[in-house]
C-alpha cells in the first residue's frame, strides 16, 4: 500500500472547506483568460455546462462530441429528477442532511469534502437552471414542486415530468449553443477522442478521429477536461445509450491517470426485463415510480397465475416487509439485490420468470387514474410501447439492470486526475457517490462539476502557466500518438476474422454480468479473470471489421470501444476481487450479515482503490487513498 495520492482537501472545518478553497485559490485575471485554451471532451451535463461557463469566463474553449449535436448526450435520458437542499417543503432538509444522506447512501465510501461541496452547490444549480428557462414542475401558486426519491426521508427532488435529464441537458446545451454562436466555444461534432497526449508529465492535448472522414487530428491545450460519462455498457446490456463507452477515460488511464473503484457499479432496480437474446439494451423505468408503485412477487415459487388472480395474502411485498421505514423507496443497491433474491428463489414473474411486479393498482384506487397518468403518463406509455402491456391494467414487470458507474477516473478535490492538467467531471470521475449513488444525484453532480466546481478549480492550475509556452501539435509526441491510433484502427480492419465487434461485446458483457454484477464471489471473479483475457485473445484473432479505416465506419468505431471494455472488464473484476468486503453496489457473497445485508470492513477497506496502469492489464498497481471522516461516523447502513 502506498499513499502517493493527495486529495488536496482544503483546510478548515468541513462546512468551511469550499469557502476556504475559493478564498485562497489562484485566479487568472479576465484579460489573461483568453490566453488559455481548454479542451472539453463530451457535451453532456458536465461537459456542456463546463464548456459554456469556461467560455463565459473568457477562456478559449474547444468542445468535442462524438454525437451529431451536443444535445444528444445520454444525460438526456435521465428521467426522475435532481436533488437540491432547498428545503422548500420545510420538511427538515438542509445542506447537512443532503450531505449526510449522500455519504450514507454511498455506504461510507466517498470523500467527505467533495460530497459536502456537492450538497452546498446543489441549491445554486436549481437557481441557475430556472434562470435559464428549465420548465421544472410547478404548483398552482407558481412555486417549484418536489417529489421524493430513494434513500431520503425529505422531498428534495426537482423534476420536469419524467424528462428531467432532457430539460436540464437542453438548458446546458442552450448555454453552450450561445457560446458557440458567439464564438466563445469551437464545437467539433462527430469527433471521437482516441487518445490523450501527455508531454513532460502534463496533459498537452488529445487526438480525435473525425467519424465522418476517418481522419485523425491533434489538438493541444493548456488543460483537458474529460466529461465522457460512465462505463455501464461494459455489461453490454444496460440502460446506457448504445454509444456510451469508456474509451476516453481508459485512454487517459493508459497514459497515466489512475482509475478509482472500478467495481462500484450501480444496478438499477426498475428496468424492463430482457425479452429475448438479441436485445440491444434495457430500458429504465424511473425510480420515481416507486413513490406510488408497490413491488411484489407471489409468495410461492413458480406461481404463474395472472397477477390479478393472486390474492393479497399470497403476495409478498418484500420491500415493505424487509425495510418498513423506507419500504418501496429503499435505495437502489438494496432494492436490486432483493429483486435478484426473489427471482433466484423462483418467485420471478413474466414469460421468462425474470422480473418482479411494480403494481399501481393501489395507487390508482387511492389517487384515481388521472392523477397517476399526470404523474407517470409518459413512463406508462413507454412501457406499453416496449412490452405491449398496459400498466394501468396489468402490473409492470421490472428487473435490475446496469445503469450507472460510481467508479471512474481518480480526481482530487479540484477534479484533477493524477495527470496534471487533465480533469474529469461528471460520471467519468469517481468522486461523489462512494459505493452507491442515490437517485436524482447524477444530474446534480454533473451540473455541480461543470457549472460550479471546475470553473473555480481550473484557474488554480492554469495560473501557473501564464505567459509560459506549452507544447503545440507540432511537438513530435502528437504525431507519435496519432500514428499509434492509426496503427490500432488498421489492426482492427486487418484481422479478417469471423466475428463482429458486437458479438464480442455481448459475450464480454455476459461474463462481467455473471461474475461482476449484482453479486460477486471470489471463485466467480477468478473465473472471470480467466475468461475475459481468453475472449480478448479471441477478439484479437477473430474480429471482423468490414469497410476500411477511411471514412465513416460504425463497425470500426465499435471495435475500438469494445477493446477498451475488455481491459476495463479485467480491472473491474480485479478491483472486486481485492475489495474483500461488501459495500453499496459491490456485494461479495462471502461478506454479508445474517440477514443478507452488505457487511463492510471499515478497518481494512475504508479507502479508495485507485489503479495505476502498468502496461499489463492483468497486473495493475493498486494505490490507496484513505477516507478520513471528520464529520460523520461509520454506521451500519440500515433502511429498516
Amino acid at each position: 500500500m502506498s499513499s502517493i495520492l493527495d486529495s488536496k482537501t482544503p483546510e478548515g472545518p468541513l462546512a468551511d472547506k469550499w469557502q476556504n478553497f475559493k478564498a485562497n485559490e489562484k485566479l487568472v485575471n479576465p484579460a489573461n483568460k483568453r490566453k488559455f485554451k481548454v479542451i472539453v471532451v463530451g457535451t453532456g451535463l458536465a461537459g456542456a455546462s463546463a464548456a459554456a461557463t469556461l467560455a463565459e469566463l473568457g477562456y478559449q474553449v474547444d468542445a468535442f462530441t462524438f454525437h451529431d449535436s451536443p444535445r444528444r448526450a445520454h444525460s438526456i435520458a435521465a428521467q426522475g429528477g435532481i436533488n437540491a437542499a432547498k428545503n422548500y417543503r420545510g420538511d427538515g432538509d438542509s445542506v447537512h442532511r443532503l450531505f449526510y444522506d449522500t455519504i450514507k447512501g454511498g455506504d461510507f465510501r466517498s470523500r467527505e469534502s467533495n460530497v459536502h461541496r456537492l450538497a452546498e452547490v446543489s441549491v445554486n444549480i436549481i437557481d441557475q437552471m430556472v434562470a435559464q428557462g428549465v420548465p421544472f414542475a410547478r404548483e398552482y401558486g407558481g412555486m417549484l414542486d418536489n417529489r421524493s426519491f430513494g434513500g431520503a426521508q425529505v422531498s428534495r427532488t426537482f423534476y420536469a415530468r419524467g424528462q428531467t435529464g432532457q430539460q436540464l441537458l437542453l438548458g446546458a446545451y442552450q448555454q453552450l449553443a450561445r457560446q458557440i454562436g458567439q464564438g466563445g466555444v469551437r464545437l467539433f461534432n462527430r469527433s471521437e477522442l482516441v487518445d490523450v497526449v501527455v508531454i513532460e508529465g502534463r496533459a498537452a492535448g488529445i487526438v480525435v478521429r473525425d467519424l465522418m472522414t476517418g481522419e485523425l487530428s491533434s489538438h493541444s491545450a493548456h488543460a483537458v477536461v474529460l466529461a465522457t460519462g460512465g462505463y455501464g455498457n461494459a455489461f453490454f446490456l444496460s440502460t446506457n445509450a448504445m454509444a456510451c463507452n469508456v474509451t476516453a477515460a481508459w485512454r487517459a488511464h493508459k497514459r497515466g491517470a489512475f482509475f478509482a473503484n472500478p467495481c462500484y457499479t450501480q444496478i438499477h432496480p426498475t428496468c424492463i426485463p430482457q425479452s429475448d437474446d438479441f436485445q440491444s439494451k434495457l430500458t429504465l423505468m424511473s425510480e420515481s415510480l416507486r413513490n406510488d408503485g408497490r413491488v411484489w412477487v407471489p409468495k410461492v415459487a413458480g406461481d404463474n397465475r395472472e397477477p390479478h388472480l393472486i390474492p393479497e395474502d399470497e403476495r409478498d411485498y418484500y420491500l415493505e416487509r424487509l425495510y418498513p421505514s423506507f419500504g418501496n423507496l429503499a435505495p437502489r443497491d438494496i432494492s436490486s439485490r432483493a429483486a435478484k433474491r426473489a427471482v433466484d428463489a423462483g418467485q420471478g414473474v413474466g414469460p421468462k420468470q425474470n422480473g418482479v411486479y411494480l403494481d399501481f393498482g393501489e395507487a390508482i384506487g387511492r389517487l384515481g387514474r388521472d392523477t397517476v397518468a399526470e404523474r407517470y403518463g409518459n413512463l406508462f406509455d413507454m412501457y406499453e410501447r416496449i412490452t405491449g402491456e398496459n400498466p394501468y391494467d396489468v402490473p409492470m414487470r421490472i428487473y435490475p439492470a446496469s445503469h450507472y458507474t460510481m467508479g471512474g477516473l481518480w480526481v482530487d478535490y479540484e477534479l484533477m486526475t493524477t495527470i496534471p492538467g487533465l480533469y474529469a467531471a461528471g460520471e467519468a470521475n469517481f468522486s461523489d457517490h462512494g459505493a452507491n449513488r442515490l437517485g436524482a444525484s447524477a444530474l446534480m453532480q454533473g451540473l455541480s462539476d461543470g457549472y460550479f466546481v471546475l470553473p473555480y478549480t481550473i484557474s488554480n492550475y492554469l495560473s501557473e502557466w501564464l505567459n509560459k509556452s506549452v507544447p503545440d501539435t507540432s511537438h513530435p509526441e502528437f504525431a507519435k500518438v496519432e500514428n499509434e491510433a492509426r496503427d490500432r484502427y488498421n489492426r482492427f480492419a486487418s484481422v479478417g476474422g469471423t466475428r463482429s465487434p458486437d458479438w464480442f461485446h455481448r459475450e464480454l458483457g455476459k461474463i462481467i454480468w455473471d461474475y461482476c454484477g449484482m453479486e460477486r464471489t471470489e471463485a466467480g471473479l477468478e473465473k472471470a479473470l480467466g475468461e475475459i483475457p481468453a475472449l480478448y485473445e479471441e477478439f484479437k484473432k477473430d474480429l471482423r471489421v468490414t469497410g476500411g479505416t477511411d471514412g465513416l465506419n460504425q463497425t470500426l468505431e465499435k471495435a475500438g470501444r469494445v477493446e477498451d471494455f475488455f481491459e476495463l472488464g479485467m480491472l473491474m473484476c480485479r478491483d472486486a476481487l481485492d475489495r474483500k468486503e461488501s459495500c453499496g453496489g459491490h456485494f461479495r457473497a462471502e461478506y454479508q450479515t445474517e440477514e443478507g445485508e452488505a457487511l463492510r470492513d471499515d478497518d481494512n477497506f475504508a479507502h479508495v482503490a485507485a489503479w495505476e496502469n502498468t502496461g499489463d492489464p492483468m497486473a495493475p498497481n493498486r494505490h490507496v487513498e484513505d477516507l478520513v471522516y471528520e464529520e460523520v461516523h461509520f454506521q451500519t447502513r440500515s433502511y429498516k
Binding site: 461557463t53 442552450q174 440491444s280
Partner: protein, 258 residues
Amino acid sequence: MTNTLKNLTLKVWRQDGPNTSGSFETHTIEEITDEASFLEMIDILNERLIEDGEEAIVFDHDCREGICGTCSLMINGQAHGPERGTATCQLHMRKFSSGDTIVIEPWRASAFPIIRDLMVDRSSFDRIVEAGGYITAATGGAPDANLIPVPKPVSDAAMDAAQCIGCGACVAACPNGAANLFTAAKITHLNLLPQGQAERYSRAEDMVETMDSYFGSCTNHGECEAACPKEISIDVIALMNADYRKAKVQNRKQLSRT
C-alpha cells in the same frame, strides 16, 4: 404474448456519400419475434451483413428510449414509421405483419444532406438554436429559484413545447422541408416563460431568419404535427409567427425614429 413474424422484405436505401447517387437494396428477414424493436431488426441484419463480409447499413441511433432524437428513419414513407407519437427506436415489430414489405429511407430534405445510407446531417438545427434559442443567464448570478413564480399552466405549456427531441421528423414529413415546428417549439418554450421575456422578440426574429436561410417555408400542411414523436402541437407555429410579426413591427417603429 410473443409472436413470430415471417418473411419480411426490407428495401433499404444505400448511398455511399453526400455526392453520390443511392439506390434501394433488398434484404429478407425470414423470422423475427415481434418483441424485437425495429432497430434491433436492423442490428440483426447488420450482424448478418458483417458475417457475409459486407458493410453494415449506416444509421443514426443512440439512447433507444425515444429521448435523444438521434434515430431518424423514414419507414414506408412515414417519418419514424406507423405508430403515432413514437420515435423509430421505440417502434416494435408487433406493429408489422408477416409478409410485409418495409421501405426504409433516410430523412429527405435539402437542409439535411445525406451523409451515408440512412444517416443525415442535421446540424442546421444547431445553427437555429445558436442564433437565439437560449436565455442569456451567465453562470453564477441567478436569483433564488422561487423568486420567479411561474403559473402552472404556463409552465406546463412551456414544457409541452420543450419536449422537442430535435430529431427532424417534422422537416422530413413536410412537403416543403420546413423546420417551423422545431423552431417554433424552441421559441415557444422560452417565450412563454417569464425568464424568457427580455430576449423574446430578438429571439423570435433571429431564430426565424436563421431557419429561413436553411429550410423551406411553411404552408400549413400539418404533416409535422402528425409525424412528431413528442406530438408537439402545430399551435406553437402560430405563437412563433405572432412574436415574429411583433418583432418586425417594433423594428420598423424604431427605424422610423432614427
